[in-house]
């Protein structure tokens, strides 16, 4: 039965007079493509700031933890939920948390989906993730979600801290998507572009942050 509907709709569309596909003018190259590393960083920072996202600079991997500690203290984070992605895993945040008094949880700590959801929504004050890419043209970070990058960590808590190695900063979206979606047999189930915290202006056009997700987004740019 459902297949009938599919055939019906497609047949009807195909029986309509054929359209002529127009010529497709190319997009003139975006100026961002010709920026050097430092310029990319400052544009990324500027664009993210436009959406009230903050960028902290860390000189190297050692430099990340002091930032985390400072943020945790300032934002009164007692429990954080962390991803186990390739950027964060080498940091051993759980051990770090023990020394700083921050309880660091990962999705694997929960026996089932229910308790994990409960924690993500109600127990933790922050979510920490790595970022797979940064895109300077709009100040965007990209997260490829999988077993090590659960979805709720970056959207359910009120604070999202993302760690972005500077070599993963590119100019335009296409540079990211071309590689992520290159292999048709291994497409990511879920891929997100994040450009600032959760926002709305639905009441009287006035801004309100943290409508459903984070009220703050902090990107720690490493390197």
């Amino acid at each position: 039965m459902p297949d009938d509907v599919r055939r019906f709709i497609l047949r009807k569309l195909k029986n309509a007079p054929a359209g002529t596909a127009p010529s497709r003018p190319p997009l003139p190259p975006l100026p961002v493509l010709s920026l050097n590393r430092e310029e990319l960083i400052s544009l990324f920072t500027e664009n993210l700031a436009e959406q009230t996202g903050m960028v902290y600079r860390a000189a190297n991997a050692q430099d990340i933890k002091p930032h985390l500690a400072e943020i945790a203290a300032r934002e009164q984070v007692k429990i954080m939920l962390a991803a186990t992605d390739a950027v964060l895993a080498p940091l051993h945040l759980r051990a770090w948390g023990k020394t700083t008094g921050v309880e660091v949880l990962t999705a694997e700590d929960f026996p089932d989906r229910e308790s994990y959801r409960e924690a993500a929504f109600n127990r933790v004050q922050a979510g920490v993730t790595g970022a797979d890419w940064g895109v300077a043209e709009s100040g965007t970070i990209c997260l490829l979600h999988d077993r090590d990058q659960p979805r709720l960590i970056s959207i359910a808590p009120l604070l999202h801290i993302a760690v972005l190695p500077v070599e993963r900063l590119v100019a335009v979206y296409e540079q990211v998507v071309q590689s992520v979606y290159a292999d048709k047999n291994r497409l990511p189930a879920h891929f997100t572009f994040i450009t600032g915290p959760s926002m709305t202006a639905d009441i009287q056009g006035g801004p309100f942050k943290g409508m459903h997700g984070p009220r703050k987004l902090i990107v720690i740019l490493v390197g």
């Binding site: 709709i9 497709r24 572009f193 202006a201 943290g210």
Partner: protein
Amino acid sequence: MDVRTQEFAAAANRELKNERSRNFLGRLAPYFARSCAGAMKTFPDPAAAVACGRAIRADAVARLPDLLEQFAKNALACGAKIIWAKTAAQANEFILALAKEKGVRYVAKGKSMVTEEMGLNEYLKTNGIDAFETDLGEFIIQLLRRPPFHIVGPAINLPVEEIRDLFLAHGVIDEPTTDRIALGGAARRYLRDKFRRLDMAVTGVNMAAADTGAIFNVENEGNIRLCKSSPAIQVSVMSLEKVVPTMNDALHLLRLLCRHCTGQKLSSYVSIDCGPKKPGDADGPEELYILILDNGRSEIYRDVKAREALRCIRCGACLSVCPVYGKIGGYPYGWVYSGPMGQVLNPLLLGREQTRDLYFATTLCGACRDVCPAGVDHPRLFLHYREQQASSVRAQGLFFKAWGRLVKSGGRWHFAVRLLRPLINRFAANGVIRKMPGLMNGWFASRNLPALAHKTFHKQWKKQERQRDAGRR
């Protein structure tokens, strides 16, 4: 959603008297123009960037059948379940049956115009399943039971007092407050609980890429991301024209969409799905359904001119620049889609009969066409709909029949014009006509006409020509 397109004129006149809305609307167009132009400046050549977007949508509509088939094939290969629905009723029935089968008590909705077009919320509700709109604006208008005032800010015109009363009445707040932040926070808490226990979410789709089978959603609030993260079942409803050829096409349209929607380079969140979560993932849907809705579009597609309306990507820019919308707001358009976007879409989806006002209540000023990043030529479509309906008004038909006889001949035309002069000038006093009883009442409600000059240009020219000829002789 109830269709009230036939009450356009009365509703418009009512809204014209709404001071608060008028105030808000007065600020909208300049605000939009500034923010959109500011965001477009990042393109070295904004016009070229728009031309590129328009070509993508033109291409997508021209190749729709093939692209749609390709999309469905690829999405299926990713593990999504593809459901095709001919009508809104079929789509609603599917979603209800799924909810019942899975034993869910309620669903959360991400902002989606197409499910409003389907009347999904009402349908689920009458069948015992609650549906919660989770976009703040949509949440408010759902409680209010009104169509969106603006596609980008469905409740943006409402005074805080009205929202306070609404929230009190529905138990969203216990203590009255008119603080925007407190009201937003209350909605967050109210909906957060729903998200945490959520078993099934229904969202729309902004774009679908044929080359990968990926679906895109764009938002600022994060409610759609929660819809795609928390529950075990995700239903993404897309009207069938959402497909574009490639991922890169979708990316460029994203650039244009966000700039024309909210003046942002990119909205806070864009999420892209290819199939359900993988085994071992902590969250995300176990099952992803992509419901492809026709609801009359395959019929529209047979009309080569009308189908260009399907290019629309729902950015809302045409509303913000429309001088008529700028006076009356979104309610008079009487259905889900308002402003010029609604004026082109509603007649196609609801039929030309009950939507007459929508394609006549326009000065054809072209501001919508100029701003549209998808290349919809609204005035051209309005004229097309008018043409299709022309035969239904007899009196006008007779008038133009007569007019047609005159217009073919200069002699007859100018003879008729000569006869007209004394008829019209009967109503003139001191060179001004203030009214012509029974004729053009609308015009004369607020405007005069100059009395007709003693001689038409035509006559003067002829006279001077004679004089010149005489002089030469």
